[in-house]
């Protein structure tokens, strides 16, 4: 959950010093990446899950919403249901596959939203400076002081439950994370002699921003995004777990996990499988993120 977020926020993203030396070739980074077994494993997991989500209509043996109350809570490996069925008799494998779509798409969308909004805030703060910087930083501090999950719940109470609203709520709560990273990068760039030199040569302020800052922000933000997606997926699953996310009959790993609690005694597989899915997705993104960060961080070379 937010542990992935906080982990990165506390300093394992790229140091600002990486900025000026960030001219290393992409090929170099790719080579480092390929050398790491865990990063490749993470990439593999993400690709597999992405493919499963994209190909869900082809891969799913049944309609995920097909109710068959006579065959409720069937164990894995019963006829026609490789992973068993849930409390409505719906095929678990199909629901997990379609759930992958929901969880991955919404997780990525929420991350993109947070990254975009956060980056804009960070750019504003770093560039304009002075009172705008103070305002943005205080707002970020306020957002961070607010208990993370409660804020998401309060936003949902305002917007109403639902997939899109859940995405917006989680995105808002994660804006500070990106805001800080981008701001730090911008400040670091502003300070390098490279920029001083360019200014001396008369290059306009605006061109400076577009060419240098954005290029230098790219790497840290990419790393942050991959490390954050896992946390977003978990946060969204958590909201669905509390009943505030998707609406029935849409499948979503979090709500599947929540409704399975009642049947833990009789049918533990209904509780184990959706959680396992969330875990694998998050693990994949975390490993991928770690690999990217190690590959892109010049200090480790």
């Amino acid at each position: 959950m937010s542990s992935a977020i906080r982990v990165s926020g506390a300093g394992t993203t790229l140091a600002p010093g990486a900025v000026a030396r960030g001219r290393s070739s992409v090929a170099e980074a790719a080579r480092m990446f390929r050398r790491s077994g865990s990063a490749l494993f993470g990439l593999g997991l993400v690709v597999v899950l992405g493919a499963a989500a994209a190909l869900a209509p082809l891969l799913a043996p049944h309609d995920p919403n097909l109710i068959d109350t006579a065959r409720r809570l069937a164990r894995p490996l019963t006829a026609g249901h490789v992973l068993g069925t849930d409390e409505f008799g719906r095929d678990l494998l199909s629901r997990l596959l379609y759930g992958a779509r929901t969880s991955l798409v919404v997780g990525l969308a929420a991350t993109a939203l947070a990254a975009a909004a956060g980056s804009v805030c960070g750019l504003l703060a770093g560039f304009v400076g002075r009172w705008v910087d103070q305002l943005v930083m205080r707002s970020i501090d306020t957002l961070m002081a607010f208990p993370y999950f409660l804020l998401a719940i309060a936003i949902i109470a305002t917007l109403g439950p639902g997939l899109v609203n859940g995405m917006v709520a989680v995105a808002i709560v994660n804006i500070p994370f990106y805001g800080r990273i981008v701001r730090a990068t911008v400040l670091a760039v502003k300070q390098t002699e490279y920029v001083e030199a360019a200014r001396a040569l008369g290059v306009s302020e605006l061109r400076l921003s577009l060419t240098h800052v954005l290029r230098n922000c790219l790497a840290p933000v990419i790393v942050a995004v991959t490390l954050n997606v896992g946390g977003m997926i978990t946060a969204l699953a958590g909201l669905s777990f509390l009943g505030l996310g998707v609406q029935p009959p849409t499948s979503d790993w979090g709500s599947m996990l929540s409704s399975s609690r009642q049947y833990m005694n009789v049918a533990p597989h209904v509780a184990a499988l959706p959680g396992l899915a969330i875990f694998l997705a998050v693990l994949g993104f975390n490993l991928l993120g770690d690999g990217l960060r190690d590959a892109l961080d010049p200090r480790l070379r």
């Binding site: 959950m1 937010s2 542990s3 992935a4 906080r6 982990v7 926020g9 506390a10 300093g11 394992t12 865990s38 205080r138 707002s139 501090d141 306020t142 957002l143 961070m144 002081a145 607010f146 208990p147 993370y148 999950f149 409660l150 804020l151 719940i153 309060a154 936003i155 109470a157 305002t158 109403g160 896992g230 978990t234 699953a237 958590g238 777990f241 509390l242 996990l257 609690r261 833990m264 005694n265 533990p268 509780a271 184990a272 959680g275 396992l276 969330i278 875990f279 998050v282 693990l283 975390n286 490993l287 770690d290």
Partner: protein
């Protein structure tokens, strides 16, 4: 600003406090605003389905909900600075004692998780860093990334399934046994929830500690100390730990914030009578005073913890006092 308020530790502390105040005001505005934006009227919810419109209107007047929002906010803040957090709408009881009581339970849970996180995480992180690339390091980091990836509510459910329902070693819910029982009973109930909540934290602490310690080990002066022939343990103890203290402190501070705010799911899964689960229900009941009071308490704790962390930074690193 240093010139204005004064230098040294005291000045630093005062400056930090002054910076924290707008954050708290911001939090109060945010919680007030978001709750007011949410549809649903606390008076109607409280009176239930059988109330007439006049009843609801009358209750709204009694609770002061009919006044303009800005006025309501100022009145509430005015009372807050005097220590009065108002009364919960559906419960009729004062907010502050209610919130403090549940906060104690959350602190117990968070404390247990923090103990696990720090003891496991620090040890694993330091061991991994000092034995980089050994099998211990690899296993330890694999376990850590796994821990960070586990959704906390799933971990809780799985632990309950295995250790409470199947093996019956631990209770599956609650903070104490119905008949009471002392510290031992509390600890027995605390084990599974603390492990659930602490796992992700421990993993995060381990990873961060490892990278922080690694960074320091690579520094020249450590190499120099080694070259001088100091024993490994002495090198670690004297140089590494002292300088790793800063980032480790950051991690701990951040983890406390995460734990306080993130305990909701764990509290829900284990029916732990903490602040988080009470807040979820209060939000759903649109219990404005309770939600506002609870959020303020959590935010204040977070800010205080950060202040302490900042202070400890300054104690150990005098350069910081002049920021």
């Amino acid at each position: 600003m240093a010139a204005v308020v004064g230098a040294g530790l005291q000045g630093y502390l005062v400056r930090r406090i002054l910076l924290a105040l707008p954050v708290l005001v911001g939090v109060s505005l945010l919680v007030f605003g978001v709750m007011r934006l949410a549809p649903g009227d606390p008076a109607a919810i409280m009176l239930g389905a059988q109330a007439t419109r006049e009843d609801v209107e009358r209750l709204r007047r009694d609770l002061g909900l009919d006044r303009p929002v800005a006025v309501q906010y100022l009145q509430w803040m005015g009372r807050v600075v005097q220590g009065d957090l108002g009364r919960s709408i559906p419960l009729g009881r004062e907010v502050l004692p209610e919130v403090l009581l549940r906060f104690k339970a959350t602190v117990v849970l968070t404390g247990g998780a923090l103990v696990i996180a720090i003891s496991l995480g620090l040890v694993a992180g330091i061991l991994s860093a000092t034995r980089q690339y050994s099998w211990l390091d690899k296993v330890s980091m694999a376990v850590a990334v796994t821990g960070v990836s586990l959704p906390v509510f799933w971990t809780g459910i799985m632990l309950i399934l295995v250790f409470a329902l199947s093996l019956r070693w631990f209770p599956s819910a609650g903070m104490v046994s119905p008949y009471g029982g002392g510290t031992g009973d509390l600890l027995w109930h605390l084990v599974l929830p603390a492990i659930t909540l602490g796992t992700a934290s421990a993993a995060a602490v381990a990873r961060l500690t490892r990278s922080s310690v690694l960074e320091i080990i690579r520094q020249d002066y450590v190499r120099a100390a080694r070259a001088k022939g100091l024993a490994e343990r002495a090198v670690i103890a004297r140089h590494v730990l002292k300088n790793a203290f800063n980032p480790i402190l950051t991690v701990v501070g951040v983890q406390v914030g995460y734990l306080l705010g993130g305990a909701i799911l764990t509290e829900t899964v284990f029916s732990w009578p903490g602040l988080g689960s009470m807040m979820v229900r209060a939000i759903q009941a649109r219990d404005y005073p309770l939600v506002q009071g609870g959020v303020l308490l959590i935010a204040t704790t977070f800010v205080v913890v950060n202040l302490i962390v900042d202070l400890l930074y300054a104690v150990f690193d005098p350069r910081i006092r002049y920021e």
